[in-house]
Homo-oligomer: 341 residues x 2
């Protein structure tokens, strides 16, 4: 099997993406350390909403934050993927302006507007115009290392937000969850790394299944939905592979009807359910019913589940698997995963 040939992997991976994926646990730890070492920015007062400005991988970290804390955050968390800014963003908003390069147009435009509205802002970036403007306006910056493809910098982009939110007592202390997450990713590294052969390497096995198919990544609303989006984007950008997302329980309400007319397309599609180990009995039963229906309409249905004692661990473990799958699929598709136009 091609994925067990390390020379082939090295040959395809001209931009050296693999080293960022395999160093993900270290990246997460480093992100926490960088954020903790930032000066003690004053705590924002009377926060009424948390807004994350970002696009692509930088928006997904906002989605991750929202998903993980929707049930405990005292205020709404909103991800803004646009040039414009909702009217309710004002001096009582806490804003994270996230752009890896610092030059994302949409984020810069919205960032300038946020400054006018006197929101409390933290910029998370490796440099660019965002760092320049933030410096000039004395906006706190979390400066992360440059030279990485933005989508391989998810740890750097995500963890600083957690550090600030817990420092300001907006969310509970996450120290133990962060530790558990980093440990879990380190363990997964032993399972998914390129030297570990198929069969037995789940990431390589999944990539082989998705090869020459259109995967439909099915996430659970407010749980693994954002992971589904991350998988889709990684399959798009790293593997240059088309992929779509669907969300449960909404999927059961209407989208499912579309599958009935799938006809000749069905052999091209593969459904992949992103599961959590802490789902309710009720939810498990409903998903089983959905799968029974779907199995006549797609070439295969696959469950992907990760263990972990916290939501943070489970979500990040699933993301890490997706990163590896997308990398191995790029090898099978014979495209260097790093460059994007």
């Amino acid at each position: 099997m091609i994925l067990n040939n390390l020379k082939t992997i090295t040959k395809v991976d001209k931009g050296l993406l693999l080293r960022h994926i395999s160093g993900f646990a270290e990246q997460c730890q480093s992100a926490v350390d960088i954020a903790k070492a930032c000066p003690n920015f004053s705590k924002p007062k009377k926060v009424q909403n948390i807004v994350i400005l970002g696009m692509g991988a930088s928006a997904i970290v906002g989605d991750l934050l929202k998903t993980l804390f929707i049930n405990e955050s005292p205020v709404p968390i909103i991800v803004n993927r646009n040039y414009d800014l909702p009217q309710f963003v004002n001096e009582k908003s806490l804003v994270f302006a996230v752009s890896y390069s610092g030059d994302t147009e949409e984020t810069l435009t919205a960032f300038k507007e946020v400054l006018k509205r006197k929101s409390k802002v933290v910029a998370i970036t490796s440099g660019g115009r965002l760092a320049f403007l933030a410096n000039r306006q004395k906006v706190p910056i979390v400066k992360i290392p440059s030279g990485i493809p933005p989508r391989a910098a998810m740890g750097y982009l995500f963890f600083p937000m957690i550090v600030f939110l817990q420092k300001w007592n907006i969310i509970e202390n996450q120290t133990l969850n962060i530790l558990d997450t980093i440990n879990a990713i380190q363990k997964l590294e032993e399972k998914y790394n390129s030297k570990k052969s198929t069969p037995g390497n789940r990431a390589k096995e999944l990539a082989a299944k998705l090869h020459k198919k259109i995967p439909l990544i099915i996430g659970i609303e407010n749980s693994t939905d954002v992971v589904a989006l991350r998988w889709k984007c990684q399959l798009n950008e790293n593997s240059k592979n088309l992929a779509f997302t669907q969300f449960y329980p909404e999927l059961g309400h209407n989208e499912i009807e579309g599958w009935k007319g799938i006809g000749k397309f069905s052999k091209n599609l593969i459904a992949l359910f992103l599961r959590r180990s802490d789902e309710s009995e009720d939810s498990i039963h409903r998903i089983d019913v959905l799968k029974t229906f779907l199995k006549n309409h797609v070439s295969e249905i696959i469950d992907v589940k990760e263990q972990g004692s916290s939501g943070l661990t489970q979500i990040f473990s699933l993301c890490h698997l997706g990163d590896y799958v997308s990398f191995y699929l790029s090898v099978l598709n014979k495209v260097d995963p790093t460059p994007v136009s």
Copy 2:
């Protein structure tokens, strides 16, 4: 052409869906009248967020509200498609519990939780457990007519929210926009109705183009994104046709890479851009660049645009066209559009 044969249309449309689509302008007017005739519920005080509970078509009206008023609403608008409720929903939340049947499990579960948290609630329903519980708890109900497939009741589900929000001065008076919208839909009725033949009937022409394809409905973030979702659901439920959504500008940031690996699938896909007549020059230029790239990867690219003097008019006109297209596609797919399992 089969779509010009009225007998064939009647034969497929056993559940008489067409009469609901063709009566959409009247439905919108009737919804406004019903909501205005409701008793004067006391104005909620210090609203900090607006939450819409709903699934399927009932959630989409929440998305529509959010999209149309995101730039003027003084507070965040959140659509909750789940059993659970975010922590920030409390006595300062204004909640619309929307369920056409009144028996949607997710909405009922979240509704009971909302009552515990003492939010200000309005129920929009034709009956069921939601009406029963709301009556027992003295929650205001907007009672809409029963006996319609929920997805054909979008006017009934949407307009009451507008009426209440303007009554309570949370949004500006929408009387003129509503009038303009209803007039526009009436005019479109003359263009899209079943007696109006192809060529010349845009709805029939589009249905013919989408036949035996997987349409990728591309919406613009915070603008036509929700229309894209509505089109997708209508194509799924009415036409039993698979469809996917993509969103611009996010599409340009990463998803586009996936198209490069599309290979043999490309002949099955058709990209449909939902446009507004009030887009900026800048946005038009960027979409053109995106289309130039996409045209090598799909069988066809189609622009769909509706005129109208307000966002409300443009969005509802586009939705109405989608309803007609999905209906005609059901005829081409030879499936009764009404029943869903």
